[in-house]
């Protein structure tokens, strides 16, 4: 199996993600919504909006990392959070938070993912990600020794290394240089073409245009379906 391709699972014939009347927020206070959504395999959905509009809150609620104020979001027909191993096998998530063992090296973090997900050629997959994200020279370093951009790359490498049906990324372009942004966008696009569903929050109109095939615009507490062109224009011009 090529690195990063979609692993066929018995859950593939289930609905990947369905949100019904979903309202995201904190402590019972609405931030945005309601939203009705059905995410299909191979669909790349971008989520855009200004700072504090509620994009990340919506994303976390959609994938069950945060309880909804109203409505529900169901993954693979049954799961509303990540407690099940089936969910963890199918969904790969990167939010804007560092999640590392302080005394595990870059390479060992990736080995943990590759081994944990039963990749047939784990070390080859690790080497591929180290090369793609230009982390080869830092393979023996511990996370606190990395720059913020390198830590971001390591998180993305861990998310892309493993097989998944749904890839969830919160502003993946942050702290990446322009060359890496372009490469990442192209890779995400190819993953979507191969059948992986993507949920991506972004502030970069070019990144959005490359990756997404549809958009949710979060503005004034509303979640409005939009085209990619409208989403890119909303980012660029408000």
């Amino acid at each position: 199996m090529p690195v990063g391709s979609v692993k066929t699972m018995d859950t593939m014939n289930r609905e990947l993600l369905r949100a019904t009347g979903l309202v995201a927020g904190y402590g019972g206070q609405d931030v945005c919504g309601p939203l009705d959504l059905l995410l299909e395999p191979g669909q790349a959905l971008g989520i855009v909006g200004f700072n504090a509009a509620g994009k990340s809150t919506l994303l976390r609620t959609l994938v069950g990392y945060q309880e909804p104020v109203a409505g529900e979001s169901v993954i693979l027909g049954s799961f509303t959070d990540d407690s099940s191993f089936i969910y963890r096998k199918a969904v790969s998530v990167v939010f804007d938070e560092d999640a590392f063992f302080p005394s595990l090296s870059v390479e060992e973090h990736l080995q943990l993912i590759a081994g944990g997900h039963g990749m047939p050629e784990p070390q080859a997959a690790v080497e591929h990600e180290l090369a793609f994200f230009e982390l080869e020279a830092a393979r023996t370093e511990y996370p606190h020794r990395l720059s913020s951009g390198q830590r971001r790359r390591l998180l993305l490498a861990a998310a892309l290394l493993r097989p998944c049906s749904l890839l969830v990324l919160d502003e993946p372009e942050q702290r990446l240089d322009p060359v890496m942004r372009v490469a990442l966008a192209a890779r995400l696009r190819s993953l979507a073409t191969a059948g992986t569903a993507l949920l991506v929050v972004t502030h970069d109109p070019v990144f959005l245009a490359t990756v997404a095939d549809s958009v949710l615009l979060v503005s004034g507490g509303q979640v409005i379906p939009a085209s990619v062109a409208q989403g890119a224009a909303a980012i660029a011009h408000g």
Partner: protein
């Protein structure tokens, strides 16, 4: 425009004085309320602590010689052991003080004040002075239950006034130690100072063992060392030596005056990093979160030394370290194995793991060699304290994963599966640890040779239970203060709060019951082994469960 290179004096408090005065008038009754609550809380804590200390020391008065340790093992007098213990406590306090400053600025002060072209001496001296006052109060308050406990328990000479003198002496000792730490800050040598403190603590531990060796072999003792350690000063003051706090006060005042002028030399980064650590620790303390407090103190003052840098370079050149070569990635098959390998690597590389497990052995061992250590209650407490130290050390990787929930979510295992894997890794360390402890304690109490395998089995079972308890503690859910406040209004918060603070510890305590019972009941009845097995199984189930049966905890994601 020419630049004036003379720094001007800067008193931020003077600038805000008018505003502060108005605020103080408006907040007067609120402040009185806060003071009343603080005093009430202090009185309640003191009441509990003094009661516990009195009960403990009263038990000790039951008489040496009636203990369960065999003759010739408990050789160090209680006063010498106490002096060593207090000295270690003081070194620990000094390490803590040094990690948190003592001279420090918070984030806002660092951004707005340190960037100004002004003389820093004035406001740094004031900030340090505030720290010294609170340090004095902590030290004095700490002595009160110990002093009353030892006096009322008949273990030390003294009176009501004597206890207050002892409290003042310990408070002033803490102030003096803080000034010493601040002086090293001004010399930009805080890191070396902390390394020296570590070395001093190790020296005390080794001296105690050497003293044990000398006494057991009848070649003398290190008694003069324990008498002349500064840790004996509060006890001396408590016995009526009023000059002890007086001399300490003079020394502290002189030290502060001499040091104040040099505070300008402390680099901004040192002030800011100490302040950040203090803020983190203070927030954890305000929320009564001992887990977060431990994390804050672990991180505080951590810097990469020369040896660590050299080691990193060697690892970079070789591509991996010896631990990674011991546990090669090619052996990994499946998510359980991947997580076990990763966590073992984390534990093997974390010096605190080894230190904690060694301390877990040292505490009961040191106690057994002291005269009061043979008392069943003392021995049980020492075994429990040692077990908690070792269990916390062996669950460091689980604790790291608990702090960052997404670490657990990256591999395809359910929550219970992940929890059990964490416990398995801790058990890999704690089961052999428990076997060794049981073997030593069996020797110390002179258990029959035929009973040793049973006792070792109890040690192994205790290790498994401790592993589960440690994982339970690592994954203690965050407290829901909203629910606590609601329950407090109905007078029902105390029980759930106690459950919160003993979360995980209760499983650890239960896990060592069979081992302690085995020591006390020798020859060990077979039912004790059965009890140990049942307790370990229940502890495993409770420790690795992900359900929350409490209404003051937030649900875990």
């Amino acid at each position: 425009m020419p630049l004036d290179n003379e720094p001007v004096d800067f008193d931020p408090w003077a600038r805000n004085r008018v505003v502060e005065k108005r605020a103080k008038r408006e907040d007067f009754w609120e402040r009185m309320g806060d003071a009343y609550i603080a005093l009430l809380a202090a009185a309640i804590v003191f009441g509990y602590a003094a009661g516990l200390a009195l009960a403990f020391f009263d038990n000790l008065r039951g008489g040496p010689g009636s203990g369960i340790v065999r003759a010739g093992v408990g050789v160090v007098p209680g006063s010498s052991a106490a002096s060593a213990l207090v000295m270690l406590g003081m070194l620990g306090a000094l390490l803590l003080i040094s990690k948190l400053g003592p001279t420090a600025v918070d984030r806002a002060q660092g951004f707005w004040w340190l960037s100004l072209p002004v003389a820093r001496t004035g406001f740094l001296a004031r900030l340090l002075g505030q720290r010294l006052v609170s340090t004095f109060l902590y030290g004095a308050f700490l002595w009160l239950p110990i002093g009353y406990g030892t006096v009322l328990g008949g273990l030390a000479r003294g009176s009501f006034a004597g206890v207050l003198l002892g409290a003042a002496a310990l408070g002033l000792l803490f102030v003096g130690l803080s000034l010493l730490a601040a002086w090293f800050q001004t010399r930009q040598a805080a890191g070396r100072f902390r390394a020296a403190l570590d070395a001093a603590a190790i020296a005390v531990l080794l001296a105690y063992l050497f003293d044990v060796l000398l006494r057991i072999t009848g070649r003398g003792s290190l008694e003069p060392l324990w008498v002349w350690l500064p840790s004996s000063l509060p006890l001396l003051a408590q016995a009526g030596a009023w000059w002890v706090p007086a001399v300490l006060a003079v020394l502290c005042a002189g030290g502060f005056a001499a040091l104040a002028g040099q505070l300008q030399r402390i680099p901004g980064r040192e002030l800011i990093s100490s302040g950040a650590a203090s803020e983190h620790a203070g927030a954890a303390l305000a929320l009564l979160d001992d887990k977060a407090l431990g994390s804050a103190l672990d991180v505080a003052g951590a810097r990469e030394g020369k040896r660590a840098r050299a080691r990193r370079e060697r690892v970079r050149a070789r591509g991996s370290d010896s631990f990674a070569r011991m546990l090669p990635a090619r052996w990994v098959r499946g998510p359980h194995a991947a997580l076990v390998r990763a966590e073992l690597l984390v534990l093997l590389r974390t010096p605190k793991t080894w230190r904690g497990m060694l301390a877990g052995w040292y505490v009961p061992a040191a106690g057994v060699f002291a005269v009061p250590g043979g008392q069943p209650l003392v021995l049980a407490v020492l075994v429990l304290v040692g077990s908690v130290l070792a269990a916390r050390a062996a669950s460091k990787a689980a604790a790291q994963a608990a702090d960052v929930p997404s670490l657990d979510a990256i591999i395809p295992l359910g929550r219970v599966g992940v929890r059990q894997t964490h416990a398995l890794v801790a058990a890999l360390l704690l089961v052999p640890w428990g076997v060794c402890l049981a073997g030593f304690l069996g020797w110390a109490v002179g258990i029959d040779a035929a009973q040793i395998p049973v006792l070792l089995g109890l040690g192994a079972l205790a290790g498994a239970g401790l592993a589960a308890g440690a994982v339970r503690m690592a994954f203690r859910p965050a407290i829901d203060w909203g629910s606590v406040m609601l329950m407090a209004a109905m007078g029902k918060a105390a029980g759930p709060m106690v459950l919160h603070f003993t979360y995980g510890y209760e499983v650890m305590a239960v896990s060592v019951v069979a081992l302690v019972a085995g020591l006390l009941l020798a020859p060990i009845p077979p039912v004790v082994l059965l009890l140990g097995a049942v307790v370990a199984a229940v502890a495993w189930g409770v420790g690795t469960s992900t359900s929350i049966g409490s209404n003051v905890h937030r649900s875990q994601r």
